[in-house]
């Protein structure tokens, strides 16, 4: 469960990325690495949001299609797709995103709680939204996105 926004430090560096057309972000400190290794092995009979598994320097990492998980319309696969590797619930997971954008220096006190629905996605998947000059960044609650997948 994510902490309340008010409990967080004032400042945060958000790694931002596009999931379909939605600009999302997450605390850069939660990211283990970002890679463009697309040699993903599909796994038979796995849920449709599981792209497959990947050999990351000897570690077998499961890749989740964030777009499918959030129920967003599928974007065309390009060579800009990346795996954002995070460590969650004792394992490394890759979150497949459509494009990585820039790092945004944000202030938590300017992050507003997520509405019940962000661009058609349930608000529970987000920690909040941050407004920049270029638009809104939906801050992903990684634990929530990766939770309960087996029962999904």
């Amino acid at each position: 469960m994510s902490r309340k926004i008010s409990e967080k430090n004032d400042k945060v560096d958000l790694a931002t990325f596009y999931v379909s057309e939605a600009l999302c972000g997450m605390d850069i400190l939660k990211i283990q690495e970002i890679n463009k290794n697309m040699e993903i092995t599909p796994v038979p009979n796995s849920p449709d949001f599981v792209v497959g598994v990947l050999n990351m320097r000897g570690r077998i990492v499961t890749i989740i299609d964030v777009c499918k998980k959030l129920g967003l319309p599928k974007a065309e696969a390009t060579n800009k797709r990346r795996n954002i590797i995070v460590y969650s619930q004792n394992e490394y997971i890759g979150m497949l995103v459509d494009r990585v954008a820039e790092v945004v220096h944000a202030e938590w006190n300017k992050v507003t709680p997520p509405p019940s629905n962000v661009r058609g996605v349930q608000g529970k998947y987000f920690e909040g939204v941050y407004k920049t000059e270029d638009g809104l960044i939906a801050i992903l609650d990684m634990e929530e996105v990766l939770k309960d997948e087996s029962a999904a």
């Binding site: 092995t41 599909p42 796994v43 038979p44 009979n45 796995s46 849920p47 599981v50 598994v53 990947l54 050999n55 320097r57 000897g58 570690r59 077998i60 499961t62 989740i64 619930q89 394992e91 997971i93 990766l146 997948e149 087996s150 029962a151 999904a152």
Partner: protein, 623 residues
């Protein structure tokens, strides 16, 4: 006369023929890789045994002794403990040359010198053994011959070689006059006959117990004792050799200490038990390991099922099962535990051989105190680690050649340091000759990294001011290892657990008259019986016969009492030992794989849930 000039002539002719073949085979052996050399070395080993045993019977002690030393070296090659590199083959050839000279001068052979060749061959045998086993080469064991004043004097190494193969050691008591000559068997044929049922380690002809060989009366005897190793028990041996049971003396009590040294099995009444051989021991270990893996899969499924149902996973029953499982895993680890320095000593040899072949004097030292490792892992580590060391040696050699004083070439000393860190084992490889600080010199480890990764381990390199470039291999202390077959289905690698595979029908042509659809499933006619035909990669659309028709091989699996067939695209059996990695919980409850692993080419392979497929198969009604 039992042994006459004719016998000697036959022996000379036979041996020359053997030596001729041996010479050709040795040259071929040198050009083979270590793996394929093994069966070839076994053939050579057998040929030398015949020479040795025949020479023993005919009383040519030097030929017998030198053949024994050659046999020891060939035994190490066939056991995979020694690589037949040019240096070793050269020493073997020199040894066989000397045997040839001894044969050419048969009647003077016992007075001819064999020291030079003996020393070289003994040195070779001793050099490849770990320190604590070296003394076995020179340690002589005196074995008293029952009802005879004479003894066998044999090196402990020779005895340990056969004990290691799980063989029983006996003294066979023959009477050459009654058991051989009167049955009109020639001495050399007799030797060959006996060798069909085991290995003649040594033999002794008690020529002094008989008056003259010409007297063939029943009172005269010519005792011939054979120190014999065989996997047969006393009764079986008695039947096979047509020798009375009281003429076969089992040495299990006399050699108890040697068997103990090898850590082999003992019966409950503390007597060593030869019948329970190493082979059985190995099989038991494998079964224990396989069943523990399966138990572990079942336990993990149970836990995830309970999690899904939101049931408590802290139940007493589950904890109890968990405790049994962890004890079993611990036991498996103990069974396969081996001292790291013992397991990796082969590297010392590999480095020496490489140095010799390439004229780069090199030496390897292993510092490991008392760390233990899993021998199923260490045997797979030899190749990548020796390649890493060779890369390091080449790099150092290049640097030395580029130096201004290139003429002064130091011998390259590589150090392997094995240490424990938390729950990991770290193998550090560095050289005292490699203390530079230039990032450009870092080695390309791509291929070795893949092989090491397949062991659920990783490999890196770093620079230290004190040690220069240090290669680091980081391994876990405990592993789940599965013995299975690597097969391809729909371009994906799978590992089928060996324990469930009953039969392979290779390169089969599947026609549509041997496949039938039953409801939503398929069945296949195998050996006049219809059994479920399972698609494990879930690629098939219902009614798609074509999918099955294209399969090259049918694998028959048996899980419990349920039999089913799987069609695969590989056309050969490929045995493999893999290190399991758990599957992600994100793969969901419908996943039909139970674990995954990495192969040495970096690809991911899946272990199918055979229990699940057996359950599916059991639901198919075959009428």
């Amino acid at each position: 006369m039992l042994i006459n000039l004719d016998t000697h002539n036959i022996f000379v002719e036979d041996t020359k023929r053997y030596l001729d073949e041996i010479e050709k085979d040795l040259i071929t052996l040198e050009n083979m890789g270590a793996d394929i050399a093994k069966p070839f070395a076994e053939k050579l080993f057998r040929s030398v045994q015949v020479i040795k045993s025949s020479a023993g019977l005919l009383g040519f002690s030097n030929i017998k002794e030198l053949s024994q030393k050659l046999e020891n070296v060939l035994g190490l090659i066939s056991n995979g403990e020694l690589d037949p590199n040019p240096e070793i083959v050269n020493i073997l050839l020199l040894g066989f040359d000397r045997v040839f000279q001894l044969i050419e001068n048969l009647h003077k052979s016992n007075d001819m010198e064999i020291d030079e060749q003996s020393v070289m061959l003994t040195g070779l045998t001793s050099a490849v053994l770990p320190d604590e086993k070296k003394k076995s080469v020179t340690q002589i064991r005196v074995i008293h011959i029952p009802s005879d004043k004479h003894t066998f004097q044999i090196s402990e190494f020779n005895l340990l070689q056969v004990i290691n193969q799980g063989k029983n050691i006996y003294i066979l008591e023959y009477d050459l006059i009654h058991d051989v000559q009167m049955k009109k068997i020639t001495p050399l044929n007799f030797v060959r006959f006996v060798q069909q049922h085991g290995e003649m380690i040594d033999s002794f002809l008690d020529i002094y117990s008989v008056g003259t060989l010409e007297e063939k009366t029943s009172e005269h005897k010519m005792p011939y004792f054979i120190l014999f190793a065989s996997s047969l028990d006393k009764e079986e041996l008695s039947n096979e050799l047509d020798l009375e049971s009281n003429k076969i003396h089992d040495l299990k009590n006399e050699l108890k200490d040697l068997i103990k040294t090898q850590g082999k099995v003992y019966s409950s009444n503390s007597e060593c038990n030869f019948i329970e051989s190493n082979v059985l021991d190995q099989n038991k270990k494998k079964i224990l390991s396989d069943l523990t893996n399966e138990f572990s899969f079942a336990y993990d499924s149970l836990v995830s099922e309970m999690l899904e149902k939101k049931d408590s996973i802290n139940s007493i029953t589950l904890n109890r099962i968990g405790m049994v499982l962890s004890s079993l895993k611990k036991q498996v680890n103990i069974e396969y535990s081996v001292k790291a320095s013992d397991a990796l000593w082969k590297l010392v040899r590999k480095v020496r051989d490489y140095g010799y072949k390439n004229n780069i004097p090199s030496k390897l030292e292993i510092e490991s105190s008392d760390i233990n490792m899993d021998k199923r892992i260490t045997c797979q580590l030899i190749e990548p680690i020796s390649n890493l060391i060779i890369k390091m040696i080449d790099s150092i050699n290049k640097l030395q050649n580029n130096r201004h004083d290139a003429k002064i070439k130091d011998s390259i000393q590589i150090i392997i340091q094995i240490i424990e860190e938390d729950k990991d084992i770290i193998i550090k490889i560095y050289s005292k000759n490699y203390s530079f600080n230039n990032e450009d010199i870092l080695l390309d480890l791509t291929e070795e990294q893949k092989q090491i990764n397949a062991l659920n381990a990783n490999c890196s390199q770093e620079q230290s001011a004190e040690k220069g470039v240090v290669l680091k291999v980081k391994l876990k202390q405990a592993y789940s290892i599965l013995d299975g077959y690597n097969v391809k289905i729909d371009n994906q690698d799978y590992i089928f657990p060996k324990t469930y595979i009953k039969e392979w029908i290779l390169n089969t042509e599947i026609s549509d008259d041997i496949i039938k659809q039953v409801d939503q499933n398929f069945i296949i006619l195998v050996q006049e019986k219809w059994i479920p035909f399972i698609d494990i990669s879930s690629k098939i659309d219902i009614k798609d016969f074509q999918y099955f028709l294209n399969k090259k091989t049918i694998v028959i699996c048996e899980v419990g009492y349920i039999k089913f067939a799987i069609g695969i695209d590989s056309s050969k059996q490929s045995e493999i030992s893999v290190v399991l990695q758990p599957i992600s919980k994100h793969l969901g409850k419908d996943s039909t794989i139970i674990a995954n692993c990495l192969l040495t080419d970096g690809k991911i392979a899946f272990i199918p849930d055979m229990g699940y497929f057996a359950y599916q198969a059991s639901k198919i009604k075959i009428t």
